[in-house]
C-alpha cells in the first residue's frame, strides 16, 4: 500500500525524441488510476518508468514519499502484469508464483501459504502443477495476476493486461481485476488504449496524448466535461461530434457561447429527433447509414449544406429510413464549446 508521486518527470530517448514532457501526477493510496491514450502517447513508457524498467531523464518518481529514481525494479516493491503475461515457460504455475518470493528469501512456509492464498483468490488451485503452455489465455492471465498478488507489493502496475484476450473474456477479467483491486486495496496503475476498459476500471482516469497529460479526473467527469478537443474525441463511443460554429450560425440561432469558440461539440446520445422544450439547437441532415447495435441505433448523418458526417445514437427501432431528411435537436446545455487553435474548452 503506497502513494506514488511523479513530479516533472521527463523521458528523452536517444536521438532527442521526447516521450514524456514534464509530467506531474499524484496517485493516492489504494487508488486505481488508468492511463489511457492512443499508441505512442507515452503511457507505457510512463508505467515502465514507475516500474524502474526505463531510466528517468529528469524529475522524480517517489513511492511512499521516497524517491526511487535510482532503485532497481525489485527494490521498488512493485509488481507488474505484462501484456503477454511473461510467465516463465519452463516453470510450473507454482514455480512462477514462487519465484519472486524465493528471490526475496521468504521462508518456505510463508511462500506456501501465500501461494495457496493467491491460488484460492484467483481460482487457479487446480493448475498449480501445470506449465504455462498447457494453459488457456485467460488462465495465463490469472497466473500473471497471481504472480503479482503473492508478493503483496506496494503497487500493481498493469501494462495492457487484457489486450491479448478475446472480447468476452476481456469483459470478465476486467470485472475481476476491479473486484480484486477493491478487495486488496492496493494502489494500482493500469495502462490501456481501450477507452471503455479505462472508463469502467478507473477510480481516476489520466488521458494522455503525445507525452503530455490532457486531463485527469473521474471517468464520468471527463465524459461530461472534456477539457480539450482530444479528450472530447477520445472518451466516449461513438466519439463526440464537432461542428464548425460558422455553419451553425448560418443554419439558425446559436445559443450564447464564449467569444473564442469556433468548434461546437455534442455527444451522439444527446441528439434528439423530436423538438425539445428547453433552449436548443436545430439542424437538418440526411440519414446515410442506419446501424442498429441492439439497445440503441447509430445513425450516420450527413449535415445539410456542409455535408459533414456526424453520428447520432437514438433509441432502438427509431423510424429514420436511409436517404430521408431528418431534423436534429440538441439542447443548449449539451453543447461543448472549443477553440480549435488552442484545442481547449472555452467556457
Amino acid at each position: 500500500m503506497a502513494t506514488i508521486q511523479l513530479s516533472s518527470v521527463k523521458k528523452v530517448y536517444a536521438g532527442n525524441v521526447t516521450a514524456i514532457h514534464n509530467l506531474d501526477l499524484d496517485i493516492k493510496d489504494g487508488e486505481l488510476v488508468v492511463l489511457v491514450g492512443p499508441s505512442g502517447c507515452g503511457k507505457s513508457t510512463l508505467l515502465r518508468m514507475i516500474a524502474g524498467l526505463e531510466t528517468i531523464t529528469d524529475g522524480t518518481v517517489s513511492i511512499d514519499g521516497k524517491v526511487v529514481n535510482q532503485k532497481e525494479p525489485a527494490e521498488r516493491d512493485i509488481a507488474m502484469v505484462f501484456q503477454n503475461y511473461a510467465l516463465y515457460p519452463h516453470m510450473t504455475v507454482r514455480g512462477n508464483l514462487e519465484y519472486g518470493l524465493k528471490n526475496r528469501g521468504t521462508p518456505r512456509d510463508e511462500i506456501d501459504s501465500r501461494v495457496a492464498e493467491a491460488a484460492r483468490i484467483l481460482e487457479i488451485d487446480a493448475l498449480l502443477e501445470r506449465k504455462p503452455r498447457q494453459l488457456s489465455g485467460g488462465q495465463r492471465q490469472r497466473v500473471a495476476m497471481g504472480r503479482a498478488i503473492v508478493r503483496k507489493p506496494k503497487a500493481f502496475l498493469f501494462d495492457e493486461p487484457l489486450s491479448n484476450l478475446d472480447a468476452k473474456l476481456r469483459g470478465q477479467m476486467r470485472i475481476e481485476i476491479k473486484r480484486l483491486q477493491r478487495n486488496l486495496g492496493t494502489t494500482s496503475v493500469y495502462v490501456t488504449h481501450d477507452q471503455l476498459e479505462a472508463m469502467t476500471l478507473a477510480d481516476r482516469l489520466v488521458v494522455m496524448n503525445a507525452g503530455r497529460i490532457e486531463q485527469v479526473g473521474e471517468a464520468m467527469a471527463l465524459y461530461d466535461r472534456p477539457e480539450t478537443l482530444f479528450v472530447a474525441g477520445f472518451i466516449g463511443s461513438p466519439p463526440m461530434n464537432l461542428v464548425d460554429i460558422a455553419y451553425l450560425r448560418e443554419k439558425g440561432r446559436v445559443p450564447e457561447l464564449p467569444a473564442a469558440t469556433d468548434l461546437v461539440g455534442f455527444r451522439p446520445d444527446t441528439i434528439r429527433l423530436t423538438p425539445l422544450a428547453e433552449p436548443h439547437l436545430t439542424l437538418a441532415a440526411t440519414v446515410e447509414l442506419y446501424e442498429p447495435v441492439g439497445g440503441e441505433t447509430h445513425l450516420h448523418l450527413r449535415l445539410e449544406g456542409s455535408g459533414q458526417l456526424i453520428v447520432a445514437a437514438v433509441p432502438a427501432r427509431t423510424a429514420a429510413p436511409e436517404g430521408s431528411m431528418v431534423p436534429l435537436y440538441v439542447a443548449s446545455a449539451d453543447l461543448h464549446p472549443f477553440n480549435s487553435q488552442t484545442g481547449k474548452r472555452t467556457d
Binding site: G52, A74, Q83, A86, H90, Y99, N103
Partner: protein, 282 residues
C-alpha cells in the same frame, strides 16, 4: 504432397534407397574388411561378404593395437579423442552462451563491434589461420598437451551466433518480469535463460562433439608425443607403413571402433537434438 500415384511412390523410394546405399556402402565395406584374414587383401579383390576373422581382428585392436605403426594402443587414442571432443564441446558452449548473453542483454561500448568481430572469425576456420595459431600454441608451450589440442578450437562464432539468435527470440518481458521479481542478471541467466536453452544446448552438443571428434589436421600438427594421439589421426598412421602392406583388416576394425562414439552420442541425444532443431514454442 498428398498425391497418391504409384509410380511416384516407386520413384521416391528408389531415390531414397539409392541415397542410403551411397552413404552406407563405404561403411559396409569398412566393416567387411575388418572381418577378413590378413592375407585376403593381397589378392587385390575386395570381398563383399564378411570373413571369419572378426573376433580375432577386434580383439587384437582392442588389446595390443598395432604397435608396429608407432601408434599407441587403441584405448588410449579413443580416450584422447573423447576427452578432446568433450572439452571442445563443453568449452565452446560455455564460452559462446556467455558471450551471446553479454551481447544480447548488456549495453556496453563497442557491443556491435564485438559481435561483428566474433562473427568475422566464421570466415577464418582453423585451416586458414593454422600457421599463426600453431606459432601461438607453440610459444605458449602447449604442444603435446590437452590444452594445446583443444583451446584453439574452442572459440566458436557459430555457437555464439546461434545462441544470440535464440536469445533474441526470448521476449524482453521475461527479463523484465525477472527483474521485477528480484533476479539480477546472472540469476536471470541461470534461472530463466539456461533452462530455456536446454534443447539448443543439446542439439549443439551433438554437432560440436562430432566436430571435435573428427579433427584431423590440428591434432596431427600439435602432437608429436604418441600419448596425445587421437584416433582419427592415429588411423592415418596405421595405414601408412614403410616396407610392408598395410594391415587393412586391423585398420578397418579401428575405423569401425572410431565411428562408434559419435554414433552413440547421436543416438542417445537424438530426441533432444531433433527437439532443439525443430522446436519453436518457447
Amino acid at each position: 504432397m498428398v498425391e497418391n500415384r504409384p509410380w511416384l511412390n516407386v520413384l521416391t523410394h528408389l531415390v531414397l534407397i539409392l541415397g542410403v546405399a551411397i552413404v552406407a556402402f563405404p561403411v559396409y565395406i569398412a566393416f567387411i574388411a575388418s572381418t577378413q584374414a590378413p592375407n585376403t587383401f593381397l589378392r587385390g579383390v575386395m570381398p563383399l561378404l564378411p570373413g571369419d576373422h572378426m573376433v580375432a581382428n577386434y580383439t587384437e585392436m582392442l588389446t595390443t593395437g598395432m604397435s608396429t605403426s608407432g601408434a599407441p594402443p587403441l584405448g588410449l587414442m579413443l580416450a584422447n579423442s573423447t576427452l578432446m571432443a568433450v572439452i571442445i564441446t563443453v568449452g565452446k558452449i560455455v564460452i559462446s552462451i556467455t558471450s551471446a548473453f553479454a551481447i544480447v542483454y548488456f549495453r556496453f561500448p563497442l557491443r556491435t563491434l564485438a559481435f561483428w568481430l566474433i562473427f568475422v572469425t566464421l570466415m577464418l576456420p582453423v585451416e586458414v589461420r593454422i600457421i599463426p595459431t600453431f606459432a601461438v600454441v607453440a610459444n605458449l608451450g602447449l604442444l603435446n598437451s590437452y590444452a594445446g589440442l583443444t583451446l584453439p578450437l574452442i572459440a566458436s562464432a557459430t555457437a555464439t551466433f546461434l545462441f544470440r539468435q535464440f536469445f533474441l527470440t526470448v521476449p524482453d518481458e521475461l527479463m523484465e518480469a525477472a527483474r521485477v521479481d528480484g533476479a539480477g542478471a546472472m540469476k536471470f541467466f541461470r534461472d530463466i535463460l539456461l533452462p530455456l536453452s536446454r534443447t539448443n544446448i543439446g542439439a549443439l552438443s551433438v554437432i560440436l562433439f562430432i566436430y571435435g571428434w573428427v579433427q584431423y589436421l590440428w591434432p596431427l600438427l600439435v602432437t608429436t608425443d604418441s600419448r596425445y594421439y587421437t584416433i582419427v589421426m592415429g588411423i592415418k598412421r596405421m595405414a601408412t607403413r614403410a616396407d610392408s602392406e598395410p594391415q587393412w583388416q586391423l585398420v578397418m576394425a579401428a575405423v569401425i571402433l572410431a565411428m562408434l562414439p559419435p554414433v552413440l552420442v547421436v543416438i542417445l541425444m537424438q530426441r533432444l537434438f531433433v527437439k532443439g532443431l525443430v522446436e519453436t514454442e518457447k
